[in-house]
Symmetry: C2
Subunit: 313 residues, 2 copies
């Protein structure tokens, strides 16, 4: 690792070192002590890898098909048009697909964790929608393509639609309870997992810290530490949640759930580190992720599919 190398902020290269320890940080994650010749973008969000691997794309397609089925485009269009637009135009992340993949790894059924994966899509879309609401009103325009680079709806509609998507996500999950499987305890556990990951101590905390970081003047020497802290709750925390929820609904044991939680955390951290240019640390974390998968391989599980979440990054 390069210590004390260049960090570009607002185009100005400065030298930064980590200046505090984070007692909450898992000790198995290497902490970059500095950032190497890369522009830090504090507005990065958890997005799908640029290479759309067939497995991820196939899982994502299944989730979207399911969402279109449970959330049909119907009257009142004034409600369902913005819901559809904001859900399907939000940046895709690998979090919901990893949830399905974890469920498939343990149960052999790709759709075992569909309710949790769908809820994650809805909650992350709601979060993204609210994150895009400007502090000052901007001109509206009609949607022309499948991107969010314009404002398709007024901030008021986006606020209300986001507020509608969140309970709908929890409703979908609760309705997935299956009396045959008697899985209500597992569904409740997933609700707790997701609530924590997207809540005040998870994603919301990361976004607040990201906001503070983007407003800071760049004169502090804690940037790397702060970026890692944000990454652990954003990319790391969300993927850990996705994988653990898939494991819970896939009928996993405590050991399996915790190993998949760690694997998911590494998947997210790898994505975050790639975005920030922490290349050396990426290889270390990939090794850690493979070690978690080795446990499943040793127990005769086919890990080829799920390992694509780290191989193709």
């Amino acid at each position: 690792m390069v210590v004390g190398s260049m960090l570009h902020i607002n185009g100005k290269p400065t030298v930064h070192f980590s200046c505090k320890s984070n007692h909450d940080r898992p000790s198995y994650i290497p902490k970059p002590t500095a950032v190497k010749m890369t522009t830090i973008t504090t507005t990065t969000i958890t997005t799908a890898p640029s290479i759309l691997q067939p497995y991820w794309a196939s899982l994502q397609a299944d989730i979207e098909a399911h969402l279109k089925h449970v959330m049909p485009y119907k009257d009142p269009l004034v409600v369902f048009e913005p819901m559809h637009h904001l859900v399907f135009s939000a940046p895709r992340t690998t979090v919901p697909a990893l949830c399905l993949a974890a469920g498939e790894l343990l149960s052999g059924d790709r759709h075992q964790a569909m309710a949790a994966a769908s809820a994650l899509v809805l909650l992350l879309a709601a979060n993204h929608t609210h994150e895009q609401i400007p502090s000052k009103p901007k001109p509206m325009s009609r949607p022309k393509s499948n991107t969010m680079s314009f404002r398709a709806f007024s901030p008021g509609i986006e606020l209300m639609t986001g507020d509608g998507l969140i309970p709908f996500g929890f409703e979908l999950l609760s309705r997935s309870c299956d009396s045959v499987q008697e899985n209500s305890d597992r569904v409740l556990r997933v609700i707790i997992e997701i609530s924590r990951a997207v809540g005040s101590k998870g994603l919301i905390d990361a976004q607040y810290k990201k906001k503070l970081l983007s407003e800071s003047d760049g004169g502090e020497s804690c940037h790397v530490e702060r970026i890692m802290d944000i990454m652990e709750k954003n990319e790391g925390g969300l993927h850990a949640c996705g994988a653990s929820c898939g494991a819970v609904l896939g009928g996993g044991s405590e050991e399996e759930i915790e190993r998949l939680r760690k694997f998911g955390f590494y998947v997210g951290m790898i994505q975050g580190m790639v975005n920030e240019g922490f290349w050396e640390e990426v290889e270390v974390v990939k090794d850690l992720a493979f070690k978690e998968l080795q446990y499943f391989k040793d127990n005769n599980r086919d890990v080829d599919a799920i390992s694509s979440f780290i191989i193709h990054v």
Copy 2:
């Protein structure tokens, strides 16, 4: 009922008639055909009755004490200070107290439905917080009293805090699952009830329609119909949800749950009608509410306490 009487909007008296039928409206609710000499306030929210009856106040105090216990004022204060402020300064409604009251009526234990009542407080506070976010930034000031007539936090913080409160409400509910009582199915049912009541087809829909109504020019003749439609999802729907959730967690049978849902709906409609000056209809709905309570009285339940929700309005 007076048909075609005076409706004051923006100080200008006009005559209004209902102009369409609402097939979704329960037939047992009388629909005012016109509003009598009263100023319609489309910005009314569901608030507690002006007379704080001892029973309601006592239930509310218990819920707030519970919330302070599960949501302690702790570090990071940057997260918990706005959470506390926005939860405890939001307008109090009778919805959570009615939830506890319904649970107490059936189980004899006032705290049986505490998780649902607390979740309702959090979700309604989040909704109120988001509703107050201005479309244009306003000057901030520090909190001086227990009201929301000023902006204590920036819109960005209010948006994020609201987004944190919603999953926390669902987390509280999910965590309340009791392995001794084996009530996970009932908790999941409550999550569905609450999700629907506060979601796109419930409260959010009512707020959207309220927004449209407040922006209309007053030249239409459908105001009463539209006000009733909003009231049924806002005051009516939320109280129906509160009472039914209390009944579910109180161990109620399907008959008891549905009767308490209707009772809650009437409680909410009475409050809404009082706010709008639909006085004649209030008495009709009170009778309907008492009829639902009669069922419980006939089954040797003590309905004195819960009946205070309609007696003192």
